[in-house]
């Protein structure tokens, strides 16, 4: 992701995560993001968010897409520069406040996302990642949320040590990786006027009232459960590897203990001890656990999502029941 290169060149501020009260996104930026993600529904695309940080509230006023991944030539830098310059000429805030990403069949949490968001947050402490899910945005529900990495996780990620020991030391729970930031939509007076016009003129074209009463949401459940079961499989595999690794570590510790005792005995007996410092000083080969944590985080995230979806469906079922009882009497 080309933005990374640019960010790494920016001087890193001390990276302290500033408290963010909320994110306010302009209708224009939202529509642009939706258009870009919908056009490239088959893949995960991303782009930049532009705006200002006003007294702890992040205002996103505009956005633009990143180059498509199949663009030959590595002139992403040039593209960014040109775009920012052109936007500045027409008075658009050309201040980067974060980035957006489209979710591919509901999945968006992975290593690249964390790495990118970490770089963004180190250079610009208030930055957020906005995730838009084109697959769940149907039937009247808009699936867009803003996240940033929690303070704890930022500190932990900086250490670059992903062993389970370090996880425990920093007390990272699997739900601790991303914090959700509440998001509001802002539109200027003129745009509200336009929205009124749309409502009056084309009421049917723009109203989602009846879409929401649709009862056929089964595909979404199925997809969610499929992803969850894949995650569980991954987690199981990782658990096996981890327990194997734990046994190895235990064995190594035992060997080191035995060696130490033998050495002390030899020294006490006055004989010269062999130089086994290399074996003694061998570091514990701890397994990097970040992927496992990510998988566990994903599982928690999806089960929470399932909860909201089920809530809606059950409500609709009971409503149908009530209506049918009225019809039969």
């Amino acid at each position: 992701f080309s933005l990374l290169a640019r960010l790494l060149m920016m001087p890193a501020r001390d990276g302290k995560t500033m408290p963010l009260k909320g994110v306010q996104i302009d209708g224009l930026a939202l529509l642009k993001i939706i258009k870009h993600c919908e056009e490239n529904k088959g893949e995960s695309v991303s782009g930049q968010l532009l705006g200002l940080n006003v007294r702890g509230k992040l205002e996103v006023t505009n956005s633009f897409p990143g180059l498509p991944s199949d663009e030959k030539g590595q002139d992403h830098e040039a593209f960014l520069d040109t775009m920012m310059k052109l936007l500045k000429q027409v008075n658009v805030d050309n201040n980067s406040v974060g980035w957006y990403q489209s979710a591919f069949i509901g999945e968006w949490i992975d290593h690249d996302v964390i790495r990118t968001q970490y770089s963004f947050q180190s250079a610009i402490p208030e930055s957020v990642v906005l995730v838009y899910d084109p697959y769940t945005t149907t039937k009247g529900n808009l699936a867009v949320k803003t996240y940033r990495l929690s303070q704890k996780f930022m500190k932990f990620y900086r250490t670059k040590d992903f062993s389970h020991v370090n996880f425990a030391r920093h007390k990272i729970d699997t739900s601790d990786i991303f914090d959700e930031i509440p998001m509001k939509v802002h539109n200027s007076h003129l745009i509200h006027g336009f929205l009124y016009e749309l409502q009056e003129q084309d009421k049917d074209e723009f109203s989602c009232e009846f879409d929401r009463l649709d009862l056929t949401g089964d595909m979404l459940f199925k997809r969610n459960l499929d992803i969850m079961s894949t995650c569980i499989d991954n987690l199981m595999q990782d658990q096996n590897k981890f327990s194997y690794n734990l046994r190895q570590v235990a064995r190594l510790k035992q060997q080191q203990q035995a060696l130490k005792i033998k050495r002390e005995a030899k020294l006490a007996a006055g004989e010269t001890a062999e130089d086994e410092t290399i074996l003694l000083k061998k570091p514990m080969p701890h397994l990097p656990r970040l992927d496992a944590y990510l998988t566990a985080h994903k599982i928690t995230h999806y089960s929470k999502k399932l909860k909201t979806m089920i809530g809606q469906s059950v409500t609709k079922m009971f409503e149908v029941d009530a209506l049918s009882r009225e019809m039969c009497t």
Partner: protein
């Protein structure tokens, strides 16, 4: 080309055939235009920019979807106007890389009417594009208490085979949107504003359950209206018409007739399935949380 050289203005290339052309505007375009208007330089009265879109061919003719736009810096006095064509070219190239299917289809400006200067710009666009460019005018001053969005194309008037004069002709523009954009616009219309006195206060978008409640109330309201109407006709207060009556009958007939026992069985099955999924989700989450606690104890 002789005809082009002799016409006073060149607002449109010679028309190919009388094929029907429909214009559809996506709401993003108007949002962008209004935002540009808000950000204009203090001394400008109006703003100008390029329209991008896609042309789709249908059996009757073609449909031009105006999907995107970008602003262009321009300067204007009473009689003269100049736009930064380099900017237009650079930005068009960038946008082409981002959205390869889109091309330049016209230009926009804010304001109430077409002026002499508009025709100058229209000419610039007509010369560059092979097709007839569309000129979109958005009235941001809200005259007549309306935010009008009008479209114009150039039309050459021929007399005895020679182009005498050119004029702007208004064309119908409809609003069109993809499903996702529709949901976003609907969410914005129904959002709950932070501060009810300020029109442009940031609004929280309703959660899914609140949206559902809204839809159900709307449904209830509709049913009540129809029911009151039927009561009124029965009592003789309102004169019923044939169309309304048959519409009501059709609506009621479209509800499938299900045997009550069968319905109860279907309902129970569906609800049980949903609850089972819910239980599975919860159990998985509890298991993962338990696993976490064990990690903490491990070392």
């Amino acid at each position: 080309d002789a005809t082009m050289a002799t016409s006073p203005f060149f607002l449109a290339p010679p028309s190919t055939s009388g094929k029907q052309v429909d214009y559809k505007v996506h709401p993003l375009v108007v949002f962008s235009i209004l935002d540009h208007y808000r950000r204009r330089e203090p001394q400008q009265h109006r703003v100008v920019g390029t329209l991008l879109g896609e042309v789709l061919k249908t059996p009757e003719g073609s449909v031009i979807h105006i999907k995107n736009c970008y602003p262009i810096p321009h300067s204007e006095t009473n009689d003269q106007i100049s736009i930064d064509t380099d900017y237009h070219k650079n930005m068009a190239a960038l946008q082409k890389r981002l959205h390869p299917k889109e091309s330049v289809v016209g230009w926009y400006s804010t304001g109430k009417e077409i002026s002499y200067t508009s025709s100058l710009i229209h000419e610039v666009f007509a010369r560059r594009m092979k097709k007839n460019p569309i000129h979109l005018v958005v009235d941001a001053t809200l005259s007549h208490s309306q935010l009008a969005v009008k479209g114009f194309i150039g039309r050459n008037i021929r007399v005895e085979g020679k182009d005498i004069v050119a004029q702007f002709e208004e064309v119908k523009v409809d609003f069109h949107t993809t499903e996702a954009a529709k949901i976003a616009v609907d969410a914005m219309i129904n959002g709950v504003p932070e501060d009810s006195k300020e029109l442009d206060a940031p609004a929280t978008m309703l959660s899914e359950l609140e949206n559902l409640e809204h839809s159900l109330q709307e449904l209830l309201h509709l049913l009540e209206t129809v029911s009151d109407y039927v009561d009124g006709v029965n009592k003789g207060e309102i004169k019923g018409t044939q169309e309304v009556g048959s519409a009501i009958r059709d609506a009621l007939a479209s509800i499938p007739r299900v045997d009550p026992e069968m319905f109860t069985r279907m309902f129970n099955q569906k609800t049980e399935d949903l609850l089972m999924i819910f239980y599975l989700g919860n159990i998985t989450r509890a298991q993962v949380a338990l696993g976490n606690r064990i990690y903490e104890v491990l070392d």
